[in-house]
């Protein structure tokens, strides 16, 4: 790494540490007050500043008052752009939702809902990916991605929201650190586990296809879910984003035990169990899970599958 890059990284680390000391960990939702918004000129902003300076010198040199007026007008526009940039973030309310669980190695997507109770239309706010607009009175979701490596609870690391609106001369940003976490399930083994206990009753009667027939419950919102299925009443109650689930299909029965895989290291054993649970669930079977002295099921359906996977994610970590 080159020296300037190292220096920049060091400076950034110091700045983040300082901001963390100043702000601490925020309870959700976070209201973006002006005092926690940081702002610095961008490269374009520096160029703009230098240009205004050059115009000032030229106007002074020619004793040209009209040139001076133009220069001062541009300086004023720069100041206005700075405040406008800050106000583009100020007053936003950030609801950080727990990310839907993923398998270890996949990327958690924390849906961060931005909204504001009034104020102006907010333009081009960047989280991790593309910038989004936040219209008045309507929430907008910015997914914050966080890759995972191991199973278990995955606290959302500090992330930033930033904007260079309106002219790209300044970048205003906030650092947000909350106690919200996601969950990484054990990574399922590559192949169906041959040594896994055979299903007690292996009749499959069609895949359990998520459909629109019957209301089957709620689950956490994931990217890609139809916005029509979001339970807005739950949002209003502060329960976070939940998707209404609808399903159809009859159940069947299977049973899995961690103790039966006693010879394997725990992570491998959990991987195999995860694979088994997934296979059984995909087959629409009714199945149960035993982890040490805890038993789940027998049962079927998405909720049961997730209960099993979550228990495995948190088992002995």
């Amino acid at each position: 790494m080159s020296r300037p890059a190292a220096a920049q990284r060091w400076l950034r680390g110091r700045a983040i540490a300082w901001a963390a000391r100043r702000q601490g960990v925020d309870p959700v939702p976070v209201m973006l007050h002006r005092r926690r918004i940081y702002i610095l000129p961008t490269g374009q902003g520096m160029l703009y500043g230098l240009s205004v300076l050059a115009m000032l010198l030229a106007s002074l040199n020619y004793n040209n008052n009209l040139g001076l007026l133009l220069t001062f007008l541009l300086a004023g526009i720069g100041v206005a752009a700075m405040y406008r940039c800050q106000h583009n973030l100020a007053g936003l309310v950030v609801h950080v939702q727990p990310a839907p669980p993923v398998f270890a190695g996949e990327t958690l997507q924390f849906p961060v809902l931005l909204h504001h109770d009034g104020g102006q239309y907010r333009f081009a706010i960047s989280g991790a990916a593309k910038p989004v607009d936040v219209p008045v009175g309507r929430g907008t979701i910015v997914p914050i991605a966080q890759p995972t490596r191991r199973r278990g609870r995955q606290p959302l690391k500090r992330f930033s929201l930033s904007t260079t609106f309106p002219l790209g001369l300044f970048r205003a940003w906030v650092w947000i650190e909350t106690d919200v976490a996601g969950l990484a399930w054990p990574r399922p083994a590559a192949m169906p586990a041959a040594s896994a206990p055979a299903p007690a009753q292996g009749v499959t009667a069609g895949a359990n296809v998520a459909g629109d027939d019957d209301f089957a419950g709620l689950r956490a919102w994931r990217e890609g879910d139809s916005i029509r299925h979001v339970d807005w009443h739950a949002v209003a109650r502060g329960r976070g984003l939940l998707t209404k689930q609808f399903s159809a299909g009859p159940p069947s029965l299977e049973f899995y035990d961690l103790a039966a895989l006693g010879g394997l290291p725990i992570e491998q054993a959990l991987s195999r169990l995860a694979r088994s649970v997934l296979n059984a669930d995909a087959a629409g079977s009714t199945y149960g899970l035993r982890l040490g002295d805890r038993t789940f099921g027998p049962d079927s359906g998405a909720a049961h599958r997730e209960r099993c996977l979550s228990a495995m994610a948190l088992f002995q970590v």
């Binding site: 008052n65 001076l68 405040y83 333009f123 009443h233």
Partner: protein, 658 residues
């Protein structure tokens, strides 16, 4: 360009890319229009070609030049500017350079950053327009042009998604509006320095107005020019005769009057007489050194020098508009104490030539006893001798004064002043030609007098014992019937600007002139002296470093505070759409009876809490909350829900519980 920028920019939709291009082009064209007056046609043709090329790429996939042809084009353009202007610096060459750079930037503009650079260059072109011709009309034009450029900057800054032009225009206005008072404040307080910091090629062109010599024909060119030479404001009633004295010409040879190079050693004395006249002149730059003034100036501005012939001049040519105040005594005697040695230069005549004129003068000198009689005799000759005033006199050639006096008898002020001075000198009376302006047109709107080039005039001064220099205007004795119609019409048209006889146009002209005068007096002339005077009026000595530093500091605090307050107010003012405002009103009503909503409490939670605490309000609160939640969170709430919410909240009067 980094790989990352490439990736993020390549996904720009064609519509957005064209929107960016068109708005940036519109801004560029707006700034180019005023540059037409000071840019060579080849540079304009080049940028026009590059613009069409870029448009061809955007609409018809016409291939753009690669890096090498662009480099060659850049180099060729630089060489062309060097060859055309002889420099790359200064306003005119610099402006051409900027225009060429803008064109070359345009054909390689694809990313947000490219367009940003292009728009910065555009702003510089606007600055060059101002530096070249700081006019009130241009300033009025520049404000919308700046707005357009800002709109383009907002659109470009918004990245790959583009933005509706109306919205971008509104945002640009919201940035421009608070910048106006900031600019005004900075303009007032920013410390001005006298004179240029370093010398660059001058922004002005050739010298205009009255030169330092008078050859046949030199003034007739001015007589048909409507250029404003200067504007005058009298503090008090204007004097009856308004002869604005410019360069005084002492030396005559080969038909040409020049200032000569003999100066007298001591400044002649003035004997003040009569009432003083105080006036302020705003002189347009003409690249000469004269400061025009009425006869016998008694006080004059700093930086001006009083010459031995009672004219004022500056040390350097006047390249910027200049304002100065003079007090003159029109009836003062000046040059009373001149002795025969000092008067020699105003008796000078070339050794030979014009024999008939010399003979006539010698006869007068012999036959008449006093100089006054000789002067009267000469004036009678012009008045009664069939002399005509015309702007197109026949050519004179050698012995021009003989030919004019005895043969052609047609000429304009220069001919009469020249012939009169020659006659006087030949008759032994010290005389010289004075050039300058006579008269002026009063603007009834602001009481400023406009003096145009059409008013350029030449007259004489003769020296009389006991009176000093006395003004004689030989042209003035011609009866109006002998002024040729074409000269009269030309002078009338030029002296009234372009208005002619149209009453409305004339009124408009007066108003425009008044705006110009106001602008020149209060904006354009605001320099080190006016700034010091303005601060002195506020009780601040704006000369010390300390006072400048403190004022600038205070200004910066003030600027940041006001712009910050402006945006805070805006945020407060636009604190919500109707639904949000109505709900806030509902919450205020509840607050008044002691039910406060938590900062992050959801509306349904809040409603549930109220229903528990205050069952008496339950139905109304539930209804209002239901409407509100529907309006905020349902995709397509029925239209009448908003009206229902408004009515319900308006009628909601929770009772204070005892």
């Amino acid at each position: 360009m980094t790989a990352k920028a490439l990736v993020s920019e390549e996904i720009v939709a064609p519509g957005v890319a064209r929107q960016r291009l068109l708005w940036s082009l519109a801004a560029l064209l707006a700034m180019l229009v005023p540059a037409l007056s000071h840019t060579r046609p080849w540079a304009m043709a080049l940028i026009a070609a590059l613009i069409f090329w870029r448009l061809g790429y955007a609409y018809f996939r016409l291939p753009l030049p690669g890096r090498l042809p662009r480099g060659v084009l850049t180099l060729a353009a630089l060489v062309a500017i060097w060859l055309t202007y002889g420099t790359l610096l200064g306003v005119v060459a610099g402006s051409a350079l900027l225009i060429v750079m803008a064109g070359l930037k345009l054909i390689e503009s694809h990313t947000r950053r490219d367009y940003f650079l292009l728009l910065v260059i555009t702003l510089f072109i606007g600055l060059a327009d101002f530096l070249y011709a700081p006019r009130v009309g241009l300033a009025a034009y520049m404000l919308p042009a700046l707005w357009l450029t800002l709109t383009a900057l907002v659109i470009v800054g918004h990245g790959e998604r583009g933005m509706a032009a109306r919205q971008a225009g509104r945002i640009a206005a919201s940035l421009l509006l608070p910048a106006v008072p900031v600019a005004a404040l900075l303009f007032f307080i920013f410390p001005r320095i006298a004179g240029p910091v370093w010398h660059l090629p001058s922004s002005g062109g050739a010298a205009t107005g009255i030169g330092d010599s008078m050859a046949p024909g030199s003034i007739s060119k001015l007589a048909i020019s409507s250029r404003v030479a200067f504007r005058v404001h009298f503090d008090g009633p204007p004097p009856a005769h308004r002869y604005w004295r410019g360069p005084v010409l002492h030396h005559f040879s080969h038909g040409v009057w020049t200032r000569g190079n003999t100066a007298i050693t001591s400044l002649p004395q003035v004997q003040l007489r009569g009432a003083p006249v105080q006036y302020t002149i705003t002189l347009e730059p003409d690249n000469h050194r004269w400061l025009y003034a009425l006869a016998a100036p008694a006080t004059w501005p700093d930086g001006a020098v009083l010459a031995d012939d009672y004219t004022l001049y500056t040390e350097k040519p006047i390249r910027e508009r200049r304002q100065y105040t003079v007090i003159s005594y029109p009836r003062a005697y000046y040059g009373l104490d001149l002795n025969s040695a000092n008067l020699q230069r105003d008796l000078q005549l070339p050794p030979g030539g014009n024999p008939r004129t010399r003979l006539l003068a010698a006869r007068w000198q012999h036959n008449l006893s006093t100089p006054q009689e000789i002067i009267q005799k000469a004036l009678n000759l012009f008045r009664d001798g069939d002399f005509y005033y015309t702007l197109k006199p026949p050519p004179l050639g050698k012995n021009g004064i003989d030919r004019f006096l005895f043969e052609t008898r047609r000429g304009f002020c220069g001919h009469y002043a020249s012939a009169f001075a020659f006659l006087m000198r030949a008759a032994g009376i010290p005389a010289h030609v004075v050039t300058g302006y006579a008269g002026g047109e009063r603007n009834p709107i602001d009481d400023y007098w406009t003096v145009r080039d059409a008013r350029a005039h030449a007259w004489d001064e003769v020296w009389l014992k006991g009176e000093g220099w006395v003004r004689v205007d030989p042209t003035a004795v011609l009866p109006p019937s002998r002024i040729s119609p074409d000269a009269a019409a030309a002078i009338r048209a030029a002296s009234a600007g372009t208005a002619g006889n149209n009453q409305w146009l004339r009124q408009f002209n007066y108003a425009w002139e008044a705006a110009n005068t106001f602008w020149n007096r209060w904006v354009m002339s605001y320099g080190p002296n006016l700034q010091k005077a303005a601060f002195a009026r506020l009780g601040v000595d704006y000369g010390s470093w300390m006072s400048i530093a403190m004022t600038m500091l205070a200004a910066f605090v003030l600027i940041f505070a006001t712009v910050g307050a402006w945006f805070a107010w805006r945020a407060w003012f636009n604190r919500g759409e109707p639904v949000v405002r109505l709900y806030a009103q509902f919450c205020r009503k509840l607050s008044r009876v002691g039910l406060h909503r938590g900062r992050t409490e959801g509306p349904l939670d809040f409603a549930a809490r109220i229903v528990q605490d205050r069952p008496d309000c339950a139905s109304t609160v539930n209804a209002i909350t239901g409407h509100y939640v529907a309006l905020r969170y349902e995709p397509n709430p029925p239209r009448e829900t908003l009206r229902k919410l408004a009515t319900a909240i308006a009628n909601f009067q929770p009772e204070r519980r005892i």
